[in-house]
């Protein structure tokens, strides 16, 4: 219960941040060339000035900027993100349709990066400055420097074009109507390459942090006590070291949530996944500013919720955090 109230307080503290972001981006978008009505008129194939004026009045775009901002924030409170003229639907429903692939991709990449980062970090720390450590650390550096979109393209060349093991893009096979478990397998096979592509850089970061944090904890007194007690090395690592060494890794999830969402813009474009990131890219190209603002709102919300969950996990791993509160 105390954990929840603590995390809840952190959540409440992020509301001003959210409002700040929205106001900032809203004002920023006022500088953009062309507004929603211009985009609509272009979509309709042009129109006269009177129609444009009528439409601007209808969407409240003839008001002063502070009034528009006030209207926008008030609509947000009611979870109304406005209307997308490009998709001809409310922005909220456009975003909602695109959310599942992104969340699936992010969860899969995070799990991949976290798990293998943990395993490789532990292996590297156990053999510090010997060949497994050198190999893993070098690979980590190379992965960190690899542009994700380039890795994705090369993976397509190898696994989809030459070996033909995995599909080169898309979220599922639309040609064949699959149901139940086969659909799950189909989607999973489409997500293998995007997950690896998005997860690679985070794998590099996690393994580096895990290695450093293992080395830190392995030198602490309580670990020496555990060894002196006669525990074998595996027990020492799994039961004593890991829990403490995991703390920085968990912090990192929260810090990297935004970066991961940003990375999925690129990865979704490479693999033509119909997700939130690709929607962000499309709305920039098509100048659909209402949708872009909606995406800003939803991605900030996503980052804040990831941090909320991280706070909960953190308090669970380290009881001192709730004791101090």
């Amino acid at each position: 219960m105390r954990i929840l109230s603590l995390a809840g307080r952190r959540l409440a503290a992020s509301i001003p941040t959210l409002v700040l972001i929205l106001i900032g981006v809203f004002l920023l978008l006022q500088f953009a060339p062309g507004d929603t009505v211009d985009a609509m008129m272009a979509q309709m194939g042009g129109g006269d000035a009177a129609t444009a004026k009528e439409l601007r009045k209808f969407y409240g775009l003839d008001l002063s900027i502070p009034a528009q901002l006030g209207n926008y924030l008030w609509r947000l409170v009611r979870l109304d993100l406005g209307f997308s003229s490009i998709y001809g639907k409310p922005v909220a429903s456009v975003i909602l349709e695109r959310l599942p692939p992104t969340i699936l991709l992010m969860t899969a990449s995070l799990s991949f990066a976290f798990f293998f980062g943990l395993v490789f970090g532990v292996i590297a720390a156990r053999g510090v400055n010997r060949w497994p450590d050198t190999l893993i650390s070098t690979l980590g550096l190379v992965f960190y420097a690899t542009p994700s979109f380039w890795f994705g393209l090369m993976a397509i060349v190898v696994f989809s074009v030459y070996l033909q093991w995995l599909p080169p893009g898309g979220f599922e096979d639309i040609g064949t109507m699959r149901t139940g478990i086969w659909r799950v397998f189909d989607i999973a096979s489409h997500l293998v390459l995007p997950t690896l592509t998005l997860g690679l850089i985070f794998l590099a970061i996690y393994l580096r942090i895990m290695r450093a944090s293992m080395l830190e904890v392995l030198n602490l007194d309580y670990v020496r006590t555990a060894r002196a007690k006669g525990l074998d090395e595996t027990r020492v690592v799994t039961r004593h070291v890991l829990r403490n060494a995991l703390l920085p890794m968990v912090t990192l999830i929260g810090l990297q949530a935004g970066t991961m969402l940003g990375g999925s813009v690129v990865v979704e474009s490479v693999f033509s996944l119909p997700g939130l990131g690709r929607l962000a890219y499309e709305s920039v190209v098509q100048r659909d500013l209402n949708t872009l603002l909606g995406i800003v709102f939803v991605s900030a919300l996503l980052v804040i919720s990831v941090n909320f969950v991280v706070d909960l996990i953190y308090a669970r791993l380290d009881p001192r955090i709730t004791a101090e509160a």
Partner: protein, 276 residues
């Protein structure tokens, strides 16, 4: 001097420095080896690498020399990476210094803004900035700098928090130095080393951000950039995969070099933390 010796004792740091010097040499000598416009038509399209001595690395979909674009691309990457990093570090130092030195409401306001920038995914903010201000070389460079400052700001603030009540600062205050003088002449030089080391991380990320933007064709299309070339090569990926592969290796090597140099500097300046 000790730090220099320590730097050159690490093989990884030396390797990084050599790679970085090679990339810099490529950027400087681009006009020398390839006096013609790298984006001009040079020969038949899609010549494979090493098949024609005139085009060592082949040509792209529209018959432009890939090697020339790689050399000129080094210029663009280093330019955008360098300038954007300078912008990010400058904003970061200013915000972090004022927040850390003054504390109280100044700190509160500045940290709220920093938090807002960190909550919004930086690539999404980059898209918004490009959508608003367009994608020329200047706007893209500034935009990359503007999305990268929060981390250096937090680092500078942490340094200032630990330094602001040290004896040498109190001595300066007793001497009647003004706040601005204390911040920039006394505390900043002491707070700078970790921030400078962190600049290598900012630069690595800045180069990756720009190349990703260029790959999505949202960066300046009128300059020879590695990301642009990868994006172009995507259209012929199935057979002529080398058009995308070659510039990607250039990005990888550059980012790797910058990170290795940064890590080498870090280990040389903080020998106690070596191996972490």
């Amino acid at each position: 001097m000790d730090a220099v010796k320590r730097y050159f004792r690490s093989p990884a740091a030396v390797a990084g420095l050599i790679l970085l010097l090679i990339v810099i040499a490529m950027a400087i000598s681009a006009g020398w080896f390839y006096p013609r416009d790298p984006l001009a038509l040079a020969g038949r399209p899609l010549v494979w690498p090493f098949s024609n001595p005139r085009f060592l690395l082949g040509t792209d979909n529209s018959g432009r020399d890939i090697a020339a674009q790689i050399f000129y691309g080094a210029r663009i990457s280093l330019l955008i990476g360098g300038v954007a990093t300078a912008i990010a570090i400058l904003i970061g130092i200013l915000v972090g210094a004022f927040a850390g030195y003054y504390g109280g409401w100044v700190d509160n306001v500045l940290m709220r803004i920093t938090e807002a920038f960190q909550t919004l995914p930086n690539f999404v903010l980059l898209l918004v900035l490009v959508a608003v201000f367009g994608s020329t070389l200047t706007t893209v460079t500034i935009a990359v700098g503007v999305v990268s400052w929060p981390a250096p700001a937090r680092l500078t603030r942490a340094e200032f928090l630990s330094l602001r009540n040290r004896e040498f600062v109190q001595a300066g205050r007793t001497l009647g130095m003004k706040n601005i003088q204390l911040i920039f002449r006394e505390i900043l030089p002491n707070a700078l080393p970790p921030v400078i080391v962190y600049a290598s991380v900012v630069m690595a990320v800045a180069i990756l951000l720009e190349s990703a933007l260029a790959f999505l064709r949202l960066s300046d299309p009128n300059v020879a950039s590695w990301g642009n070339l990868i994006g172009l090569g995507r259209d012929v990926l199935r057979v002529q995969w080398y058009v995308s592969a070659i510039p990607g290796i250039a990005i990888l090597v550059t980012v790797l070099a910058v990170s290795l140099v940064g890590q080498g500097l870090n280990d040389a300046l903080n020998p106690r933390l070596k191996g972490r």
